[in-house]
Symmetry: C2
Subunit: 316 residues, 2 copies
């Protein structure tokens, strides 16, 4: 009987050390996969890492709570920062599961490198959550950043695009992995990679859900036990609309009516929006055409804001 | 007797072909220098190429008239596009001059690659000179883009930073060369490279001047013979202020007074601004401190707008 011992990832805090590690992989011709996160790792992140592990020679996980994607009134100060717990989770997670798992592969850590930089390392010009005070270089992806999540969070995708570009330049990955749960982020970053001619591939990985169907999210830990039921409302609404789509319905009004009907039955869930958008331009659709659509939404249960989405007739 | 034949650069139009060429240099461990231009090459550009040739194993010159750095009322349509003349100039220019020049080095072209992409290649989402119509990804360097040249050209450095970042991602140079003549551009791009954690070095190369002292510029060809004299006004004004600096003057009012006095003698030169700014933050200075200063300005002779600068007690 073999007891498999999972190796630990290398923990790197500075760009300089990261570049030195990366230079070695370049010399050895290794493909590098990259999973950027804000930490507070859950099984959704592990699924991204497992996908990267399968497709790449080396895997980098970054953990950085990015000030530029929080507004001054948002939860930057209280966002969970759990580096020790994250490293412990990685240390006990093997890349593959189940009785047929390859013991050699299982002895490698899910990530070869954990890159956990300081804010000063990522923002040499400093960083404020007040956009009016910000100095230095910022990236905007026009046309797909202002709608949906961008309505209530007008500088959110500017913050996301900027930090992801910095991380891409630091890590220089061949492939980068993002969860479909943050679907507008996936679209924004795909457009950014295309527009800026970045030499890498963006991979969108399907959302991981709890047994009840709740999309895994670091913010789920804010939910109290009695909020777990209303937290499923958006998922149920999206599935209801998707079932209409599967039976041939293509009209916006009818698809959204099915979704809104679910919210009407759950007073503990406050709907913010439901969007039916083109999968590349994110333009709202009156009728779903042959390119398909992203059906997505945001809502609150108590003070916790949750998002989810479902793809109708398309892939990302 | 040896007749030296200068080889021609490889002309590349697509990102794909450029990446294939670049992969070869990576495999061979060659350092790549990069000189981005809008074409209409003059001796200032050749000086950038000669500097790159000395410091790098391979040299890429790009020629691309960037729509995003022109305002709708500016000279995008009439900006000189002279690819054939540019290639001919390169073909007859050896990297080194003078009787002591190494004949082997002189047989290599100043640029190994000329990258001349189409607008569609550089702007996959399309591009309009009307900033309100622009879609896709744009980069802004906050804090150093709104003053000086940015006052009359509010989106200019957004356009410059965006295209240079795209070109950096396409070429992936180890070193990039810019002329000091466009001094604010040098500061903006240095800040961008620092902030975005780009793995390359920005090199600022001193301005090349005509025998009379006029800074070489592609726009000098707009000048009529009788405009050549007033075109020297800014250079004379900057030198007058610099002479005051050299004798110990550090006060803004006195330094600028010397410069303005020169403009007062030349009614054919319409001064737009003179700036005395910190060399890193571009904040206007009341007194030049130990970091030194950039003294710069813009003016018009007829319809032609010209810029120039001089460094006081600092290097870029």
């Amino acid at each position: 009987m073999t007891i498999s011992t999972v190796q630990s990832p290398v923990l790197i805090h500075t760009i300089r050390d990261l570049r030195a590690w990366r230079a070695t992989t370049t010399r050895e011709g290794q493909a590098v996969g990259f999973v950027p996160t804000m930490g507070a790792l859950h099984d959704g992140h592990l699924h991204l890492l497992r996908t990267a592990r399968k497709q790449c020679d080396r895997v980098v996980l970054s953990i950085f709570v990015n000030p530029a994607q929080f507004a001054p009134h948002e939860d930057l100060a209280t966002y969970p920062r759990t580096l020790d717990a994250d490293l412990a989770l990685l240390a006990r997670s093997a890349p593959t599961h189940g009785p047929g798992a390859d013991p050699m592969a299982a002895s490698r850590p899910l990530a070869d490198v954990v890159f956990a930089p300081s804010p000063a390392e990522m923002y040499p010009a400093g960083i404020s959550t007040d956009v009016r005070e910000q100095r230095g270089t910022f990236v905007e992806v026009l046309g797909v950043s202002h709608q949906m999540e961008g309505v209530t969070r007008p500088h959110f995708f500017r913050g996301v695009a900027t930090i992801v570009l910095k991380l891409f330049n630091a890590v220089q990955p061949d492939r980068a992995y993002f969860g479909q749960k943050d679907v507008q982020q996936c679209v924004v970053l795909r457009n950014m990679v295309r527009d800026l001619l970045l030499p890498l591939t963006v991979v969108t990985v399907p959302t991981v859900r709890s047994a009840t169907g709740l999309a895994l999210s670091s913010r789920n830990r804010y939910l109290t036990p009695d909020q777990m039921e209303p937290a499923l409302t958006l998922r149920r609404a999206l599935v209801a609309a998707s079932e209409r789509y599967e039976t041939g319905e293509r009209r916006r009004t009818h698809l959204l009516k099915a979704a809104h009907a679910v919210f009407a039955t759950e007073p503990r869930a406050q709907l913010e929006y439901i969007s039916l958008a083109h999968p590349v331009t994110l333009a709202e659709l009156d009728v779903v055409g042959q390119d398909g659509a992203i059906l997505s939404g945001a809502f609150r249960v108590g003070t916790t804001r949750l998002i989810d989405n479902i793809l109708l007739g398309c892939a990302l």
